[in-house]
């Protein structure tokens, strides 16, 4: 820390930052637009002007832009200087010469950074009397609304979109006061991170189109700290609710995970919560169809089933919380609790856990991944499966070049200069996948092959790093050379990273990745092994030690299963139709707890409606092994309850002494940790329900929330009491603590004068860094002291294409593959069509071209598909995007016959 003088007062600041960052971190209110903690300084808007003095005797000083001014020990500056004040107010006045003053009809009103800065600078009277420039707006897709007249030309959008997100189709056009930010022509924004524009844009140019469909003033929202449920990364979010409807998702800062950004799937995939296909009543199936039953009756029916203790099994879910899975497990007994995963995934998760529990490699956070100096991606496409990871990897390839830039005395935060000095230089990133990915463009080299070949490449890399690692025999010269190059890059880097996952269903790839990471660890490198997992609690479920679903099917075939209780799981996504139909047929009674109609609920005897993430509390374990708590943003509707409460009630009804005593989530969690010590640490993710600050609960609503009593006034009757929330320290009220609570409990960002997302600055110790109280989440998995794992040696033979059959592999798609988000209308618009990806060679063999139809015979069914020729797709392999239920997701990868469809 170093001392500077601000308006005569000594202040301690970080010597490596810009003056603006230092002043904001010290709590001063300096206005700004174009600067952003994640984007750095460019000095365009001139809003952050302060006066700088040569020394104590200099009374005149000169105006400088604090965002471009490096902190220097002893520097003397003034924020309050009258000339600086006047200049800052003038900046607003200049921006107001063209700004449309449409606050009353602008979505951004109430959380608008321009509004805040206008008030902060004191500008009130616009002297400009001439015409304003106007623009035409563009259609940019179903997520982001465009209103260019509001633009203040801060350039944040295009800088974020190109530089951070790697997008190509949003640019700046024209010049002088007609600069225009948009696409070359109307069309859907191509980047899967386009949604962050709505938070990056300081005005209402880019706004959330999905929120517009059920518009709400942002100060009227009830908000909660929550966690995204649409992939395994576990980005932190802030859902916003009003009048029983989920209105939008906003980013919740977590410096260790998602930082400032979300992907579009996570931001816009929430509409399933409001869907008309929500289950709202318990239903009992009968000969004349299902009839609604009371909750009590449903609980009794299931409890009766269990009382005949034999043969009732429970099937858990990777998208249900650890608490819900646990209660089910307790209720049916650990022997009767199954994981509800498809076989390949189950094996992969088990292997991943074993790798982490016995090996030296550390599972890094996303923030740590962003700082990796060299990266090998083995057999996973994060741009589709775990988008925020691909954003982090775009930062990783800047690490080495940035080090070179710092040698030129160019501070990293001086963004334009740093980027100019770096040019196209990138650190080493290698990607080995079945098909081309959006990360190819930042890669040094790429490998395309079948999953087994990808694994073999991994084994070769490991051996090139450590000759003691097992050798993959019969590899081509070319592949061996690539392996050596990758090995060299990983070895020389200070923080090498191996990224892998299970979306190809291959456990071989996981093992190979482990070998690489372990080989690097042997060299005393801080090597990370990042394993992408498919769903928001895949790892949590795997850690609970559930039995594989396969065994449930086998047990059923052996007559050991009489009934199944299925928790938040559509099993049609987990097994082949044949296997599932057989299993369900063997069960006398099928009970399903879920929030939406699915193929499985259709086949259930008893359906029990449960809360979504928005109406429940719980803990999820992400791919890193980080336990994070999510809190409900609204109470579940009439007839609906949290899964764990339903199951507790069922347990209580069966007479279970233990389960019956649980009142609050804390009780359940306490028992969970007791029974499953591998989850020890989860109790530290968040304070207990009784936690208070200044004697108050923490308010989920800002003081400005309106219509709490007038809203329902028309229906007559007395004032509605805000619902109690026994499970958390949060309150469904604006009455409560409004300051900064512990990080895991932050429901919104607000400070006097800071009504926009920028208020987050006040919650961080250093702006751009971790929250004052640390970033949310508790890591549960660390490499063991005495790591005993030995290299995996079961190296698969090289993939050999067959003559009449193709290895059909699943291709995960950012929109359409994830079960819940795909139901959002906005996301539905972007789900790609089903087609079969073939290499040009194979297409030639089959005599088909792009868009021809083929018949794929697989899993004893015939699918008719269009062909999509995919450059780089390996021979003998075909790919199907997982975008429609029923198209054989659970059975892939599998061999299938393909032939051209005759007309």
């Amino acid at each position: 820390m170093t001392t500077i003088y601000v308006d005569g007062k000594a202040v301690e600041v970080d010597p490596g930052s810009s003056l603006l960052n230092a002043l904001l971190s010290a709590g001063f209110d300096v206005p700004y637009f174009c600067w952003h903690p994640a984007l750095g300084s460019v000095g365009a808007c001139r809003q952050c002007a302060v006066k700088k003095f040569k020394d104590e005797n200099d009374t005149l000083g000169r105006i400088v832009m604090s965002c471009l001014e490096p902190v220097q020990a002893g520097m003397r500056i003034s924020i309050d200087d009258p000339e600086a004040r006047e200049f800052r107010a003038n900046i607003i006045e200049w921006l107001m010469t063209n700004h449309p003053h449409d606050c009353p009809v602008c979505d951004e009103g109430g959380e608008c950074h321009l509004q805040d800065m206008t008030v902060m600078t004191g500008h009130v009277y616009r002297r400009y009397r001439f015409q304003k420039r106007v623009h035409r707006n563009q259609y940019l897709g179903p997520f982001v609304e465009h209103e260019m007249n509001r633009c203040i030309q801060c350039y944040r959008c295009v800088r974020y979109y190109s530089d951070t997100a790697g997008g190509k189709d949003l640019n700046v056009f024209a010049a002088h006061n007609r600069v225009y930010f948009g696409r070359q022509e109307d069309g859907v924004l191509e980047s899967e991170f386009s949604g962050n524009l709505v938070e990056i844009c300081p005005t209402g140019v880019f706004t959330d189109k999905t929120c517009k469909s059920h518009f709400v003033r942002k100060w009227d929202l009830t908000t909660s700290p929550s966690v995204c449920v649409h992939c395994g990364i576990g980005c932190n979010i802030i859902p916003g609710e009003r009048n029983g409807q989920l209105r939008r998702i906003r980013n919740r800062f977590n410096g260790a995970v998602n930082g400032y950004f979300l992907c579009d799937r996570g931001r816009f995939g929430y509409e399933f919560v409001n869907s008309s296909r929500r289950l709202r009543r318990a239903v009992l199936a009968g000969p004349e169809g299902g009839r609604p039953i009371e909750a009590g009756e449903a609980v009794k029916l299931v409890a009766d089933l269990l009382s005949q203790r034999e043969g009732v099994i429970g099937i858990g879910s990777p998208r249900a919380s650890i608490e819900a899975n646990f209660v089910l497990r307790q209720v049916v007994g650990s022997d009767h609790f199954y994981d509800g995963l498809d076989a390949a995934e189950s094996r992969c998760l088990e292997t991943a856990l074993e790798i982490f529990r016995t090996g030296k490699a550390r599972s890094p956070s996303l923030q740590e991944a962003a700082r990796a100096e060299a990266v090998l991606i083995l057999g996973e496409d994060p741009s589709n499966t775990a988008p925020l990871l691909s954003l982090a990897l775009r930062q990783a390839v800047r690490q080495l070049p940035l080090q070179a830039v710092e040698k030129k005395q160019i501070p990293v935060w001086q963004d334009s200069a740093a980027r100019e000095a770096i040019q196209d230089a990138k650190g080493p990133l290698f990607i080995a996948t079945v098909e081309a990915t959006r990360l190819d463009e930042i890669s040094q080299d790429r490998f395309r092959g079948a999953p087994d070949d990808i694994a073999r490449l991994g084994y070769a890399v490991a051996q090139a790093i450590d000759p003691g690692a097992p050798e993959a025999k019969d590899m081509s010269e070319q592949d061996l050379a690539l392996a050596k190059t990758i090995a060299a890059a990983l070895r020389t880097a200070n923080r090498p990273l191996v990224v892998t996952g299970m979306s190809s269903g291959s456990v071989e790839v996981l093992k190979a990745a482990a070998n690489v990471a372990w080989a690097l660890c042997g060299e005393n490198k801080g090597a990370g092994l990042l394993v992408c997992v498919p769903e928001c609690n895949s790892l949590g479920l795997a850690m609970s030690g559930a039995r594989p679903l396969d065994e449930a099917f086998e047990d059923a075939r052996q007559g050991k299963v009489r009934a199944a209780i299925i928790l938040e799981n559509d099993l049609s996504r987990r097994a082949s139709k044949k296997a599932l139909d057989e299993f369900l047929g063997l069960c006398e009674t099928v009970v399903v707890l879920d929030h939406l109609e699915t193929e499985t609920t259709e086949k259930a005897d008893i359906v029990i409606p449960v809360s979504t993430f928005a109406e429940a509390d719980g803990t999820l374990i992400n791919n890193e092994g980080r336990a994070q708590r999510f809190y409900k943003v609204m109470m579940p509707g009439e007839g609906v309850r949290e899964s764990w409460r339903w199951l507790r009630d069922i347990g209580r009804e069966t007479g279970s002494a233990e389960v019956g005593t649980w009142q609050r989530l804390d009780d359940c969690l306490g028992a969970l940790i007791e029974a499953q010590p591998q989850f020890k640490g989860v109790e530290r993710t968040a304070p207990r329900a009784g936690f208070r600050l200044t004697g108050q609960k923490i308010a989920r609503q800002p003081r400005r929330l309106s219509g709490r009593t007038s809203g329902p006034a028309g229906s007559g009757g007395p004032e509605i009491t805000p619902p109690a929330d026994p499970d958390s320290p949060l309150a469904f009220s604006m009455e409560g603590y409004q300051g900064q609570p512990p990080s895991s409990l932050i429901p919104f960002y607000w400070r006097p004068g800071w009504n926009s997302v920028q208020a987050l600055n006040k919650y961080q110790s250093e702006v751009g860094g971790s929250l004052r109280d640390g970033d949310p989440g508790i890591r549960l998995i660390e490499p063991p002291e005495d790591a005993r794992a030995r290299y995996f040696t079961d190296i698969p033979p090289g993939f050999t294409p067959k003559n009449t059959e193709w290895l059909v592999v699943p291709l995960y798609r950012v929109f359409g593959s994830e079960e819940l988000s795909r139901q959002a209308p906005a996301i539905k618009e972007l789900i790609p069509g089903i087609c079969l990806s073939l290499s040009p060679f194979d297409a030639g063999q089959l005599g088909v071209s792009d868009a021809d139809e083929v018949e794929l015979t697989l899993d004893e069914r015939v699918f008719v598909l269009f062909v999509r020729i995919s450059e780089g797709m390996p021979r003998g392999v075909a790919g199907i995007p997982l975008v429609a239920p029923g198209i054989p997701g659970p059975v892939l990868p599998a061999w299938g016959r393909i032939r051209k469809r005759s007309r």
Binding site: G43, R46, I63, N90, W94
Partner: protein
């Protein structure tokens, strides 16, 4: 009188390589590359006191000295000739490029050698089609003669020469925006530090010099720094191409000793005002300089003295304002140019210049209001160096500031009389 820049330039003609060699061309190249070290070339230019002729007047030798030298310096390094002459009123570089392109090329090669550059570019104004043609022909000739390319004249020094035509924005004449444009990107300026010598074209060490500046390098090397200093009437070194536009008898250009009295240039070279017109004031160095009144023309027209007179030498090509021309309209015309040419990066320039233009337009059309003058003065105060991102807007304010200062009454008449008093029949 010695005219090292224009002595061989004849109107409508261009000197080819043979013609240039005949009058002593490429001698300095041979001397520099064969007999001098890069540092010695730099020293000569520094001692000659050559100041940048693009308008800033910064010592060329000192500018070069900031480029990292030696075998550990980052490679490649670049030298750029700024031929994006778009300052209104300025045409001197066009004269040089069209009339004697080889002198520029020789100057570029010697200067590139001085900073150990590997590539040199001429960044050319879009509209200078003739210059583009002539430069490309001349460069081809230079390559053929072995003055450019690999291992020039067997000295071991290599330099590739390129002509790049701008897409046509005034801001691209600002050196950092020029470099960005040369990279194929939108022409936005860069903040300094880092300076181009550290991170310039493509992030590499680069130096940008004006065409006229570079054309001075061959004579300096051939004849020495001391000789160059004697050419000037003051202590600033060398000659200057001065120019005149506006209602003078003889608009045009003249190469004269730097420091020639301004009045002499106005009255003797340009012949004073045309029949029936009287000089009221002039902008000495192009549109973005402050007015100097007719009665204040008696000073040596060099960098230092022009600054003392409250203006800038700039490009040394003056624009005359006569008594029959409305000064408000005169300034409005210029502000329209500047507003249009704003790159759109920073708020005060992007939003302030169009506002200024609209106010001046309102004054001219009789819709001016009393507060308009205050608004103009507020802009003059706030569109200043350090407050805007680059010098474009501060330059735009120079004619406005001095116009308001000297012609305040005329501005106020526009408001009071609700018309432009110079417009007839209104």
């Amino acid at each position: 009188m010695e005219k090292p820049l224009t002595q061989h330039i004849k109107p409508g003609q261009s000197l080819d390589l043979k013609g240039y060699e005949k009058v002593g061309g490429y001698q300095s190249l041979k001397k520099a590359l064969k007999e001098m070290t890069p540092l010695e070339v730099q020293t000569a230019v520094k001692e000659a006191n050559l100041k940048g002729r693009g308008g800033a007047g910064f010592s060329t030798g000192v500018k070069w000295s900031f480029v990292p030298r030696g075998k550990d310096a980052p490679r490649p390094k670049y030298l750029v000739a700024n031929g994006d002459e778009m300052e209104p009123g300025t045409f001197k570089d066009r004269v040089l490029m069209e009339g004697n392109p080889h002198q520029l090329i020789e100057g570029m090669i010697v200067s590139a050698y001085a900073v150990e550059a590997d590539h040199a570019f001429v960044f050319l104004r879009w509209a200078y089609k003739t210059s583009a043609r002539r430069l490309e022909e001349a460069i081809a000739e230079a390559y053929q003669a072995g003055y450019a390319g690999k291992n020039i004249l067997g000295t071991g020094y290599s330099l590739e020469l390129h002509v790049h035509t701008s897409a046509g924005r005034y801001i691209a004449g600002e050196e950092t925006a020029l470099l960005t444009a040369l990279e194929g990107r939108r022409a936005y300026p860069r903040s300094k530090p880092p300076f181009p010598q550290v991170s310039g074209l493509f992030g590499q060490p680069s130096v940008v010099n004006n065409v006229e500046t570079l054309c001075n390098v061959p004579p300096i090397i051939s004849n020495g720094a001391a000789w160059f200093k004697t050419l000037s009437l003051t202590d600033e070194g060398g000659t200057k191409i001065y120019g005149a536009s506006g209602r003078v008898k003889r608009p045009g250009y003249w190469e004269l000793p730097l420091g020639t009295p301004l009045r002499e240039i106005v009255e003797e070279r340009a012949g004073g005002m045309a029949e029936g017109y009287q000089l009221r004031a002039l902008l000495p160095g192009g549109a973005s300089t402050d007015f100097i009144l007719e009665e204040n023309l008696d000073f040596p027209f060099d960098f230092t003295h022009t600054a003392k007179a409250g203006s800038r030498l700039g490009t040394g090509t003056f624009i005359a304002l006569d008594h029959d021309t409305c000064p408000v309209g005169f300034v409005h015309n210029l502000e329209r140019f500047f507003a249009r040419e704003s790159c759109g990066w920073c708020t005060p320039c992007r939003e302030g210049l169009p506002w200024v233009e609209k106010i001046l337009r309102a004054l001219e059309s009789g819709d001016g209001r009393p507060e308009d003058i205050d608004l103009l003065l507020a802009h003059v105060k706030h569109l200043d160096m350090g407050r805007t991102f680059c010098p474009l807007a501060p330059g735009a304010m120079e004619p406005l500031r001095s116009g308001l200062h000297y012609f305040r009454e005329d501005f106020e008449r526009h408001v009071k009389e609700k018309r432009c008093p110079w417009k007839r029949g209104k």
